[in-house]
């Protein structure tokens, strides 16, 4: 980047500062713990912490930290939860309380003058076999007396594989790019809608380094195409049914050049039980088609270019049902919590790899938020 562009960028940011109007930025902090447990013997407990501090009328900096403590049979034997791993020869770590810790800090800065909001930052995560690093920037502009908000976002990641056993990957990088366009519109005093379009592009080693196809005459690691581009379009809305009830809904369509297409519907009803306590019920349905290179189990041949055994490359549906909670204290502090049950439909690939009919999971969040 040339000096000219740096000067122009700094000058633009200065102008934004001078023209600042009514910023909604606040010094705030939150901490909590999330969990994820499924019947494929994956158990994740994640303490979270976020801290945001205003540094001027319109600028705020922040840090978010997430630590995933992961216990998974799949990590003890190299990915296959149900079988001794003959292909990877990975060793067991039965005696450890957890098999991996993933540290994932995000540093970010936000500018907000009431009509313009700009946020940007960097993300870094490290775990035993994977390093993730990314940058992101989002801009939102309020229009039409703050009835309309248009946004654009961009992120680029530069991730790297480092398999836990001695395997030389054809390409150890996985880079992903995402561009989002969003529009929010207030429709009535009780109804607002949002539309989001995302374009995603991935390149590099896009399969797992651990999954493999094992048939009578074939023992091959998974091999996917090394590029993938996808499009997603989502429409969301929230509608106030009456003074104490609101309905939140969304629909997303996704399609990519691996021929995977999916539909996702989410509906949530929220109810104020008092001025301090809110809860509700949510339901999510997801369905996807299979990729154009996955084959029926046992049908691969040595002439095939691609090998896939991960159920995510096959067709399946999933259901999620959950309960959210929000409790507000008198001093404005907020406790939020949620519990959700997730289940996929029966799937041959799940059966073959994990030795179970389908994936079922429970995930929870618990967070305490306050301004300081």
């Amino acid at each position: 980047m040339s000096l000219k562009y740096i000067i122009i960028t700094l000058f633009s940011l200065l102008l934004l500062e001078v023209s600042s109007l009514a910023s909604s930025l606040k010094d705030s902090m939150s901490f909590g713990i999330n969990s994820y447990n499924d019947n494929a013997d994956v158990h994740v407990y994640s303490p979270t912490l976020s801290l945001f501090k205003k540094v001027s009328h319109s600028w705020m900096i922040g840090v978010k930290m997430r630590i995933d403590t992961i216990s998974a049979a799949s990590m003890q034997n190299g990915a296959n939860a149900g079988h001794v791993d003959a292909v990877t020869s990975a060793s067991s770590a039965d005696s450890a309380l957890y098999d991996d810790i993933r540290f994932a800090p995000t540093l970010m800065a936000t500018y907000d003058d009431g009509d313009n909001m700009l946020s940007f930052g960097a993300y870094y995560s490290t775990e035993i076999d994977y390093t993730g690093q990314a940058g992101f920037i989002n801009y939102v502009r309020q229009l039409n007396e703050q009835n309309t908000a248009v946004g654009i976002g961009f992120s680029q990641s530069f991730d790297k594989w480092n398999p836990v056993f001695d395997r030389v990957l054809p390409n150890e990088n996985r880079n992903e790019r995402k561009i989002d366009f969003s529009i929010n519109q207030l429709i009535t005093p009780k109804f607002s809608m949002q539309a989001v379009y995302s374009y995603m592009y991935s390149e590099g080693f896009l399969s797992s380094p651990y999954h493999y196809v094992l048939q009578d005459d074939i023992a091959k690691f998974e091999n996917y195409p090394d590029t993938r581009s996808g499009h997603a379009f989502a429409i969301k809305g929230v509608y106030l049914l009456n003074n104490t009830n609101a309905m939140n809904f969304s629909y997303r369509y996704y399609a990519d050049d691996w021929n995977i297409a999916s539909h996702t519907v989410n509906v949530e009803e929220l109810h104020d039980f008092s001025s301090k306590f809110m809860s509700g019920l949510r339901f999510r349905y997801y369905t996807q088609t299979k990729s154009n290179f996955v084959q029926e189990i046992g049908n691969y041949s040595l002439d095939d270019s691609y090998f896939a055994t991960d159920y995510r490359m096959s067709a399946f549906d999933s259901y999620t049902i959950g309960i959210p909670f929000i409790y507000k204290r008198d001093n404005g502090d907020k406790v939020t919590a949620s519990i959700d049950y997730y289940q996929t439909t029966e799937n041959d690939y799940v059966k073959s790899w994990y030795g179970i009919d389908n994936i079922s999971a429970v995930f929870t969040t618990l967070t305490y938020e306050f301004d300081y």
Binding site: S125, L143, Q146, P189, S198, G230, A234, L240, G280
Partner: protein, 72 residues
């Protein structure tokens, strides 16, 4: 597809028209309530975004950033 998105985005960005002023400032009180947020629980949205990214083959449609991990 991106070009169409950019054109639509530019049209909206340039101000559209006053027809989009549907709600006056004094009518916005409901939107300050937690239940009227498109994402009423931020931490849940972040966590489930990550879980669905790991457990399913689709992505996008969220105007938020999700960092990568090896579980995908």
């Amino acid at each position: 597809m991106i070009r169409i998105g950019l054109v639509l985005f530019t049209l909206f960005f340039m101000g559209c028209s006053e027809h989009l002023v549907r709600v006056m400032p004094y009518e916005k009180e409901y939107f300050s309530q937690d239940k009227m947020s498109l994402s009423p629980l931020g931490e849940r949205a972040e966590q489930e975004g990550h879980i669905f990214l790991i457990r399913e083959a689709s992505a996008g449609g969220e105007s938020a950033f999700q960092g990568g991990c090896g579980c995908r």
